[in-house]
């Protein structure tokens, strides 16, 4: 199985953006083994790693779902109904659907006057294309720089996809600034008998939903799993614990090399803290306190690095909305 595993990992190419329009949830899971750990520990780690990744994915899905706004979803459904009614030649039915959509959106605008984006759909996917080999990562990074300087942006996009290793949450948002205007304009055009134009306006509105993304770097999930497993082994299997700590440092470095908050100073602090732990484990010192502290720091670092990328941060806005 490992040979397939390795080969498939190299070929994994997932699509995310183009599925947004279908507003689906997909969540393929690709678990990856940890190279620095001995074979007898590999299965155990694989399983705990898979569990950890799955747990993280579920958490991401639950968080994303909790942010969705039912009223906004209903407004989009009504827009789709209006288009369907136009296609059946039922103008009155279309206008009625648009009235319902506009009503819902007007309420949303009144309710959240400061809000620009309202989440209507989410998608969580595990995307893991990045190689584990640092030399290969370095080579791709250099290639990216080369094509970026040459302004070959399509090639840059493809190359950068090879540096992704994350649980990605994509949230599709209804833009409150523009969407209501579109439904009103479509209603006006329908009243004027401009059926095709009205349909065009609605289709355009549906195709211009705004997507925001959040990425949880998989190497950090793996490093965390390594640390947790190392804690459980520290007393009974020092060598295995050492190897796991070493792997945790490698995963941290990988996260940084893949560009996840690359300039963050905390990377160096973690590397040092883990090295200290390695020394303590080797010296048979008690590591429980140091492990607990490290784990706590690591969790807050993970949360910080996994923040939404775009400035139009839907999750923060949704949080703000809940506090309103």
């Amino acid at each position: 199985m490992n040979q397939y595993h390795r080969f498939f990992r190299r070929l994994q190419v997932l699509f995310v953006g183009i599925l947004f329009s279908s507003l689906l949830f997909i969540a393929p899971v690709h678990a990856v083994g940890s190279a620095a750990v001995s074979p007898e520990r590999l299965n155990q780690l694989d399983t705990s790693l898979q569990q950890e990744i799955e747990k993280e994915r579920q958490q991401a899905t639950a968080e994303a779902e909790s942010k969705l706004d039912r009223e906004a979803i209903a407004a989009i459904e009504e827009t789709k109904k209006a288009i369907a009614a136009i296609e059946r030649g039922k103008t009155q039915e279309a206008i009625a659907a648009l009235e319902r959509a506009t009503g819902k959106i007007d309420i949303l605008v009144a309710q959240y006057p400061k809000l620009a984006l309202i989440p209507v759909a989410a998608q969580v996917a595990i995307i893991d294309f990045a190689p584990q080999d640092f030399n290969l990562v370095e080579r791709i990074r250099n290639q990216v720089k080369g094509v970026a300087i040459a302004e070959d942006f399509p090639a840059a996009r493809e190359l950068l996809n090879n540096l992704i290793s994350e649980i990605r949450t994509a949230i599709v948002n209804l833009p409150l600034e523009r969407y209501p205007d579109a439904t009103k304009q479509a209603a006006r055009l329908l009243n004027e008998g401009k059926i095709d134009e009205a349909k065009g306006v609605l289709q355009l509105a549906l195709s211009t939903l705004v997507v925001t993304e959040q990425a949880r770097p998989l190497p950090l999930v793996k490093a965390h799993t390594d640390l947790v497993t190392a804690v459980t082994l520290a007393e009974k299997d020092r060598d295995a614990a050492q190897r796991l700590l070493e792997d945790a440092r490698a995963q941290l470095k990988l996260a940084q090399e893949l560009g996840y908050a690359r300039g963050d100073r905390e990377y160096a602090a973690f590397d040092k803290a883990i090295k200290n732990l390695e020394r303590q484990v080797k010296a048979r010192e008690n590591t429980a306190g140091a492990f607990a502290k490290l784990q706590e720091q690591f969790s807050s670092f993970f949360n910080r690095v996994s923040e939404v990328v775009k400035p139009g941060d839907s999750s923060n806005r949704a949080e703000a909305r809940r506090r309103d």
């Binding site: 397939y4 595993h5 190299r10 070929l11 183009i18 942006f153 840059a156």
Partner: protein
């Protein structure tokens, strides 16, 4: 309240917009037809049988799972025999219009500079976001079954099932299903719009000099936009096309006949569009 616009310029713009939209829809339809034609039904069936096998495993029906895998393997063997040199066989396709790029050159320039600096700082997440904001294309995405590895995965799963290792077999099948290889083809929208401008110019060249000049200028702008967005940026044909358009503009201003040069230009544009929109296979890491 609902004042109707009767301005001839507005009407002309609306007609051009409608025509542009129609041509883009035609191109999308063409891309969809092309993509659907390349999907192999045998490979699609093999995928379906793989899913049947997983369902059978979930229901605890190992024999049924083995039968499904046998059918899948049979179909795949035929595919391998039929196309021994083929690495990937298309199983599904999707065509989307992705038009996120701004029209404004200064804004594009700003984004391009930001891309360079974020790449330079190894901030790849931001670079990805910025790069995605320079996309303006009809994108055909084809999902392919990798013939080099997929049949082996089916056989491996069957072996594991025979050994009673149902969970492992299921994992192998799920992994195989989730590792279809994606290839993409991008038809740049600004280039398509330039092509439409030239087509429209051909249609009115003899009757509307001003309109022709305006369309030719639009075509040049769209051509420049295509290059700015990085579609085959270094291609020498950009300069040749720009020069050819400028020559025709000069001829239009001089009241010379332009039907033939415009037709030749249209031909050049179409072949350039096809070349730029060539298949870009997803590269392994």
């Amino acid at each position: 309240m609902n004042a109707q616009t009767s301005n001839p310029q507005d009407n002309r713009d609306q007609q051009e917009d409608a025509r542009n939209q129609q041509e883009i829809d035609n191109e999308r339809q063409k891309a969809t037809d092309e993509a659907q034609r390349c999907v192999d039904q045998e490979a699609v069936s093999a995928l379906k049988e793989t899913r049947n096998a997983i369902n059978a495993i979930d229901q605890g029906n190992t024999q049924e799972a083995l039968q499904a895998l046998e059918r899948a393997t049979g179909k795949l063997e035929i595919l391998v025999a039929r196309y021994p040199e083929l690495g990937f066989v298309p199983v599904s396709a999707q065509v989307n219009i992705i038009d996120l790029a701004p029209d404004d050159s200064n804004e594009i320039e700003q984004i391009r500079n930001q891309i360079k600096s974020t790449v330079n700082e190894d901030d790849f997440r931001t670079a990805r976001q910025l790069l995605n904001s320079l996309v303006s294309e009809i994108r055909t995405t084809i999902f392919n079954l990798p013939l080099a590895t997929y049949p082996d995965a089916m056989k491996e799963a069957a072996r594991l099932l025979n050994e009673g290792k149902t969970d492992e077999a299921k994992t192998v099948l799920q992994l195989a299903l989730s590792t279809l290889v994606v290839t993409e083809v991008a038809r740049p929208l600004p280039l398509l719009r330039a092509d439409i401008d030239i087509m429209s110019a051909v249609a009115i060249a003899d009757s509307d000099r001003e309109g022709t000049l305006r369309l030719l200028e639009d075509a040049r702008n769209h051509l420049r936009l295509t290059q700015q967005l990085g579609y085959a940026k270094g291609d020498p044909e950009y300069a040749e096309l720009e020069q050819a358009i400028q020559d025709i503009e000069r001829q239009v201003r001089a009241n010379e006949r332009t039907a033939d040069p415009l037709s030749r230009l249209l031909e050049k544009f179409s072949s350039f569009f096809k070349r730029i929109s060539g298949t870009a296979p997803a590269q392994p890491a």
